[in-house]
């Protein structure tokens, strides 16, 4: 069996703040040429995890391997990082910023990636350019030195549909033509789903599950819908074994689990004296499915 080399491998990586928020025991693997999305809500730990990868935060425990090398600092030149907010340096123009980062990275090419279609003769300060233009410049800087992997923090945030479209096609062509590994974070399933090949679901600082688009589609068409007049009692009985559920109305609960559990759920409810009017398999929207997975139950 041919083993595909992992571009990024995290094992039991943790960084916990004093208020106990942070990331705990995150282990994941991103294969070469893969487009991997870290999906999670606010405070799920996505940005912190990326900051651990970039070196801005030193993990308290765990190991990180980049391109098979456990001394990941050696391989970091092969990474490009695009933060959530585009950045600018004072009143520097596009070409000045490019020159500054090219000098810092020690790369010779003084041009942005052609894929981004940026105007280097623009004299306006970067901070005065439109948001999407600034985003493109941040991506262009990340692509300096032709990295093998690019990490984008919430790349679709604040973009309109046309800009999302442009970004998707750029990322897609980078992945297809140069076999570039792409890791991105976010909580919008819709735009990213067109290119993402694997999802890591982060909630409350923990990686809950990793899913492929096929698995998500499968899961979305497979949840168990229960109609019962005793919703509150049914939840009390089910929530220890099936913590992922959603109450749809006064008498309907949707439980996210393999459909093979439907008989077990039914038996459990009936044996507890709960009237089950209807039990069946139902589907749902992938965005709602992922949101339900990332929801933190207090």
């Amino acid at each position: 069996m041919v083993q595909i080399e992992a571009a990024l491998e995290l094992k039991n990586v943790s960084y916990v703040f004093h208020d106990r928020k942070g990331i705990t025991d995150v282990s994941l693997q991103v294969r070469r040429g893969e487009i991997y999305m870290l999906y999670g809500g606010h405070n799920a730990g996505k940005t912190l995890l990326l900051q651990v990868l970039t070196g801005a935060v030193i993990p308290q425990t765990g190991t990180i391997k980049l391109f098979g090398n456990s001394d990941y600092l050696q391989e970091k030149r092969r990474i490009g990082y695009v933060p959530q907010k585009p950045y600018s340096l004072g009143k520097m123009s596009v070409s000045d910023m490019l020159h500054y980062f090219a000098l810092s990275y020690g790369v010779l090419e003084k041009e942005f990636d052609k894929a981004l279609d940026l105007n280097l003769t623009e004299k306006k300060a970067v901070c005065h350019l439109p948001f999407f233009m600034q985003k493109k410049i941040s991506i262009g800087i990340a692509l300096l030195g032709k990295p093998d992997m690019i990490i984008l923090d919430d790349p679709f945030h604040g973009l309109d549909s046309q800009e999302c479209e442009y970004l998707l096609s750029t990322l897609s062509s980078l992945n297809e033509e140069r076999n570039m590994t792409i890791m991105l974070t976010g909580q919008d399933y819709e735009p990213a789903s067109r290119i993402v090949k694997k999802y890591g679901i982060l909630a409350d600082g923990r990686l809950k599950v990793e899913l492929t688009p096929d698995q998500i589609n499968q899961e979305c068409s497979r949840c168990i819908k229960i109609r019962t007049p005793q919703v509150a009692r049914a939840i009390t009985i089910l929530q220890s074994d099936f913590p992922q559920y959603e109450v749809l109305g006064d008498d309907v609960i949707r439980v996210f689990c393999p459909v093979s559990y439907s008989a077990e759920i039914n038996a459990k409810l009936v044996s507890s004296g709960i009237e089950v009017c209807e039990i069946g398999i139902a589907g749902m929207n992938p965005q709602s499915f992922l949101s339900a997975l990332t929801e933190v139950k207090l």
Partner: protein
């Protein structure tokens, strides 16, 4: 480290604030030249005042005019990295904290050196323009050069101290407020308070950045060993402490503050 030094020098060159500080300094030098001329030569003209370039050199460091522009520039410049999250972007590309820290610090030292050379040049151009008709100018190149070199070293030490302050307080406005408070306190301590209390504190002689008028131009060479020792401590201790803090700092943006 060399790459960071190169890129930071490029960035400083592209910063309008740096040029603003140079202009501000040039204005202060012009004010110094006029003040010195009127206070010494012109006012004493009837009684035969002496135009002494040595005294003028000493006069350049009699207050904080040279200190203020470089303080504003340096604190604003360093805080921008924290504010914009530039560290993360550079670290993501494999640049180590050591390289970034010392590359940037060296660039700041070079910028300070350039700033001082420019300021001294302007100061002497202004005074010589005013004294163009002066026939007898007292001048001792050895003393002036020795004194200026010591002051340059003091300013480099001061840059290290500002860098330490930036590591402790990575916010431009807070760092500026604290620094000016420190400068004010130091000024009062070295001048008004010490005079009032009649303090004879020997460290005055080798005190920092021309803040003490006890470091006299004629004595600077004879006092060289303790002065150099103090300056060396002043350069390297804050730099070392700043690096220790910087290594331990989590450079997340202000998200959790």
């Amino acid at each position: 480290m060399f790459r960071i030094l190169q890129s930071e020098l490029y960035r400083i060159r592209k910063k309008p604030l740096f040029f603003f500080c140079l202009m501000l300094s040039a204005f202060f030098m012009f004010a110094y030249a006029l003040t010195f001329h009127y206070d010494t030569v012109k006012a004493a003209g009837l009684t035969g005042g002496i135009a002494s370039l040595n005294d003028y050199t000493e006069f350049l460091f009699s207050d904080y005019s040279l200190v203020i522009p470089i303080t504003i520039f340096q604190l604003a410049y360093v805080a921008e990295d924290y504010q914009k999250g530039i560290h993360e972007i550079l670290f993501a590309k494999g640049i180590s904290r050591f390289d970034f820290f010392f590359g940037k610090l060296t660039a700041l030292w070079i910028a300070t050196l350039f700033y001082l050379i420019f300021s001294f040049f302007m100061a002497y151009v202004f005074i010589m323009a005013i004294w163009i008709k002066q026939t007898n100018i007292q001048i001792s190149f050895v003393h002036i050069c020795g004194y200026l070199i010591l002051q340059v070293l003091c300013f480099i030490g001061y840059s290290s101290f500002l860098w330490l302050l930036s590591c402790l307080l990575p916010y431009r406005n807070i760092a500026l407020a604290v620094m000016f408070f420190l400068l004010g306190t130091l000024y009062l301590y070295l001048t008004k308070i010490s005079t009032a209390l009649n303090l004879e504190y020997s460290l005055y002689k080798c005190w920092i950045v021309g803040l003490s008028d006890q470091m006299e131009i004629n004595l600077s060479i004879s006092q060289l060993p303790p002065v150099l020792l103090t300056i060396a401590a002043y350069i390297f201790l804050p730099a070392g402490a700043a690096y220790w803090i910087y290594r331990k700092t989590n450079l997340r943006k202000q998200e959790r503050r």
